[in-house]
């Protein structure tokens, strides 16, 4: 059994996957690059070569930069909150208390709820006239009058982040919990004997086990948050006054609502580049973390 045969065999086995990937990802991506240098319309005209005009127009317009800021804000805040809440919930679920098994099982529910259903649910909760959030806060005396949660630029993005967080922090919690359970009991016991306080125990005993899985979760969640579309589409469609118009929504508008496939493609490529940079940075971080561990 020669080495060449083994690697040829490996390539043969990978062929179906690679063929499919080239058909549904590789070719479209190349075509997006081609389109981004044309003024093609979505329906009708093929478009002609316009050089880098699309890119300059997108990068010099204020829409792109504003959407970039909003997207970054959404990604950073929601992912950070998910990580913190997730780890806290995991530490809690790792304690002894009655009903622990049931609570652990419940954690899967928000994650399993389809994103669109989650968005719809929260839109109903935030409804300015008949929503349960307004009703609950008013009845508890925390709010004087009903508020337009999704209608104010200040609160709309926060409201979206809360809805996104609620769906995603339980998954982080479950991943972190699995990691915590891998911490050998005798190490915890030894640290107790050594008189380590709870903070130090977390820092030096649990953290090494948590770091790897959490970093992966962090990478995946950040990339997903950067691509966010569904929840915003259903809840605000980018409003009010475009205060929640993220990059994906902007690309949709350009390519599909305005039918400008060419400039839409250029914008999509810019987004892709940004996500790639983000991923590369994270990968370097991961490697460093792996080296340290």
């Amino acid at each position: 059994m020669s080495g060449t045969w083994i690697s040829t065999r490996a390539w043969l086995l990978m062929l179906p996957l690679l063929a499919v990937m080239i058909a549904v990802i590789g070719w479209p991506l190349v075509d997006t690059v081609r389109l981004s240098f044309t003024d093609a319309k979505l329906v009708g005209t093929e478009g002609s070569f316009v050089g880098t005009e699309n890119f300059t127009r997108m990068l010099t317009g204020s829409n792109f930069w504003r959407a970039l800021v909003i997207t970054t804000l959404f990604a950073i805040v929601s992912v950070a909150a998910e990580m913190v809440l997730g780890v806290l919930a995991a530490l809690l679920l790792n304690q002894q208390f009655r009903g622990r098994t049931a609570l652990r099982a419940l954690m899967i529910l928000p994650w399993a709820l389809p994103t669109v259903v989650n968005a719809t649910l929260w839109r109903l909760i935030y409804n300015p006239e008949y929503g349960s959030l307004n009703a609950a806060l008013t009845q508890l005396g925390l709010l004087d009058s009903y508020r337009s949660w999704l209608g104010e630029p200040g609160s709309a993005l926060i409201a979206l982040i809360v809805a996104d967080c609620w769906k995603n922090f339980p998954l982080v919690a479950l991943i972190a919990l699995a990691a915590l359970q891998a911490v050998p009991r005798d190490i915890t016991a030894a640290s107790l004997v050594d008189g380590a306080g709870p903070f130090n125990r977390f820092r030096f005993v649990s953290m090494p086990y948590l770091a790897g899985p959490l970093l992966v979760a962090l990478v995946l969640r950040t990339i997903e948050a950067f691509k966010v579309f569904d929840i915003i589409w259903v809840m605000t469609r980018g409003g009010p006054a475009n205060s929640t118009r993220t990059l994906s929504i902007l690309v949709y508008q350009e390519a599909f609502s305005f039918q400008r496939a060419g400039s839409g493609a250029s914008l999509a490529l810019i987004v892709t580049l940004l996500v790639t940079l983000l991923a590369v940075a994270y990968a370097a971080l991961l490697r460093k973390a792996a080296g340290a561990a």
Binding site: L17, W122, V251, A255, A261, V271
Partner: protein
């Protein structure tokens, strides 16, 4: 083992209660809305518990009278099942050989990382050519076309999970059988695949859930009952002329049931799948 003071114990229980409320409150409210009379839901102050239980929306949505809201809902339910089912099956079929090959031949693993890297591509970067390509082949507004597009998401993801699964099956078993004169296809069929069955099941479930949840491509590439999936139907329902919030909530409850049940039953497998993929990926 750990000495817990009564104060600490109280704190833990209180936090656990808070966490349970945070997780459950929105879900319970979704369900309550689905069974509350419409008038209760627009009452001020809001009624938190239905004055009498109203199951009419479940009947409306699950009745299959031709050209009705229910028929549209059921059609999209089946479309979601078809698309998610087909895409999952196809993803597993291409992912299993690839994942095994990479697991046993590390020299080609860079190709897998390239495939996995595509996971970070925003769907908007592929949408326009995919749209034009599907149009060219007459696959717009078709469950087959949509299932094909879903492979962009499912195939890299399942390959990643499966590779981690194969990694945990010792190669020695395979080489021992090889020495005994077994052919590769026999080894895979009789030895490796049965051992990898749990991982394959987990990957398939993940893939199914991802496809069930997908909205963006479905929004762009489907237009009517022939292919429209549940997520798009719900978004349409929520954005359209429905003065009864209960109906929207009911659609949400029904759409959430399959993944929630899968999640509850398969929780352990799903989490171990994610973490093993995560740690070793």
């Amino acid at each position: 083992m750990e000495r817990q003071g009564p104060l600490f114990s109280l704190f833990v229980h209180a936090s656990a209660l808070l966490l349970a409320v945070v997780i459950l409150a929105p879900l319970v409210w979704l369900f309550v809305m689905s069974i509350s009379p419409a008038a209760d839901l627009s009452a001020k102050p809001l009624k938190w518990w239905p004055s009498d239980i109203d199951l009419s929306r479940y009947r409306t949505l699950l009745s299959a009278i031709e050209n009705s809201t229910g028929a549209a809902f059921i059609a999209s339910l089946f479309n979601s099942l078809k698309v998610a089912g087909m895409a999952t099956l196809a993803a597993i079929v291409v992912a299993v050989p690839a994942a095994w090959a990479v697991s046993r031949t590390p020299a080609v693993s860079w190709s897998l990382y390239t495939v996995i890297a595509t996971y970070m591509l925003p769907p908007v970067a592929l949408a326009v050519p995919l749209y034009m390509g599907l149009a060219y082949f007459g696959l717009l507004n078709s469950v087959f076309g949509l299932a094909l597009v879903y492979l962009t998401i499912l195939a890299p993801f399942t390959t990643w999970l499966l590779k981690a699964g194969f990694d945990s099956i010792p190669r020695e078993i395979e080489s021992a059988a090889m020495i005994d004169g077994a052919r590769l296809d026999q080894i895979l069929r009789l030895l490796t695949l049965p051992l990898a069955a749990p991982v394959m099941a987990t990957s398939a479930l993940f893939a199914f859930l991802l496809a069930w949840d997908e909205f963006f491509y479905a929004l762009l590439f489907t237009s009517d009952l022939r292919a429209k999936t549940l997520t798009v139907t719900i978004a349409d329902l929520a954005g359209g002329r429905v003065s009864d919030y209960g109906l929207i909530a009911t659609a949400g409850v029904l759409a959430a049931l399959p993944p929630v049940l899968i999640g509850l039953v398969m929780q352990r497998a799903l989490i171990s799948g994610l973490t093993s993929g995560g740690v070793k990926g």
